[in-house]
Amino acid sequence: MTSTAGRPAAPAFDVERYRDDFPILRTTMRGRPLVYLDNGATSQKPQSVIDATTSYYAEQNANVHRGVYQLSENATLAYEGVRAKAAQFLGARDPREVVFVRGTTEGINLVAASYGRAQLRPGDEVVVTAMEHHSNIVPWQLVCDERGAKLKVIPMNQRGELLLDQAAKLITPRTRIVAAVHISNSLGTINPVRELVAMAREHGARVLLDGAQAAPHMPIDVQALGCDFYTVSGHKMFGPTGIGLLWGRAELLDSMGPYQGGGDMIRSVTFEKTTYAAIPARFEAGTPNMAGVAGLGAAIDYLAALPWPAVHEHESRLLETATARLSEIPGVSIVGTAEHKAPVVSFVMDGVHAHDIGTIVDQEGVAIRTGHHCTQPVMDFFAIPATSRASFAFYNTMDDVDLLVRAVRKVREVFG
């Protein structure tokens, strides 16, 4: 076990013990053990998450916030219990600050549509970064177009690191919102979000952080980050699909109008006038994804119990080894070489398109993502059509790295 200089080594991470929690990791693919390296797209689920979702339907299913009967009250208690747990998980001061959404995409859309539309005036500015996922670009374009506001972009260098001196110039008194990705899905860069928050504060701008890729790799503390909104996707943090969290400061959420209209988000409705519920119900129109919430609760418990210092050591080792060994293959270049990175390795190979790489490594039982990763501006910046991306989770092993490297070498054999 290696450790970063100057820091004491964490106790070794017993990866096999944790792999046992994930039934899909015992399956085979094309007759070989599955090597799942597409965690940036979606993560696998531990048995506890699968059980929580199943037992919700088997034992607890009733609509929340509606019935006076016991089963419905139990469902409501469980649902609100997960909200309290999620608040603690994110470092929120109050469970009312946590809104259940479908995922990060909906979290951003909610803030853009509700907060953005009310706040932005012609000539105002929204600032994003050059490495945003399409989901943190398009919602802002929509609202900027509608309000006559301007979208500005903080550039990055060739390593995939934000240029903070440029950011300081781009964030101005006209900036209302800074929307930034905490960890880039295509490059792996861990962004200096505290610095961005400080710049935004100077000019009174609000900050939304897209935490989709951060939640599976680090504990989140919105108070320490200092942002105003933070949003995550359940399925990328070992929870179910179709459920996520949006955290927002209570005073901001309180000031915001509804996002969607429907049941559960109202106080009273007449044909003449409707008054809206208090937060967070105001933003949760319709019957929510109750089974998803149950599963997300189990995922939060799972993450909270991980030995984080050891997980960090393990993930850095996977990242460093995969980066070094892929770089040794003739014609391979790593895309995204920031100093601070999550275990995401995007790469290109001279003369070979990413989809050919994807097909060939798939034949070896290795699942990686190939394409633009919903970050077309990042591909344009590096003047490449696509990358191949291996994104690791704590349950990946050094054997997975070996098999990845062997599979990528096979690509060289096919293409010469």
């Binding site: 007759g31 097909t359 060939i360 591909m379 096919v414 293409f415």
Partner: protein, 149 residues
């Protein structure tokens, strides 16, 4: 189990490396563009018609080996052929890569090298892109062809 060597036959790897008829054409009778937005494969096709004959055909493009080799081999296959013959090849090729018919080596010639594509469902669109673009050019469609309509 599908076999890689069925997909990446030597001729496909070679045409990807050195595509034939890879050029912009002066004064084409028809042009058409095709793209596969999920993969980023892109081609622009130029066709010169003389009467009912495809007198010349060329392309430019970017993308995976299957899409670019398919475009290269297609240009060789349809050059000098009557339009009706080219259309017939389009259907025969389509049926082969989607698994509707076994490769007919006599009819398809070198194009039979794409017979292995049917084992890789995710790659069928790559092989078909050039042919759909040709079909659009011959039909004189002016909207770009997309595999995701």
């Amino acid at each position: 189990m599908s076999d890689l060597s069925d997909l990446y036959q030597q001729i496909i790897v070679e045409h990807n490396r050195s595509p034939r008829n890879y050029r912009v054409m002066e004064g084409p009778s028809r042009t058409a563009e095709g793209d596969n937005p999920l993969c980023g494969d892109r081609i622009k096709l130029f066709v010169k018609l003389e009467g009912d004959t495809v007198a010349d055909v060329s392309f430019q493009g970017k993308g995976c080996a299957i899409s670019q080799a398919s475009a290269s081999l297609m240009t060789g296959a349809v050059k000098g052929k009557p339009v009706a013959e080219a259309e017939k090849l389009f259907h025969a090729f389509h049926d082969m890569v989607t698994g509707k018919a076994a490769p007919d080596a006599a009819a398809l010639g070198k194009l039979a090298a794409f017979g292995g594509v049917k084992q890789f469902p995710a790659r069928v669109k790559c092989a078909n892109l050039a042919w759909h673009t040709l079909h659009a050019a011959l039909a004189n469609q002016d909207t770009p062809v997309s595999t995701e309509s």
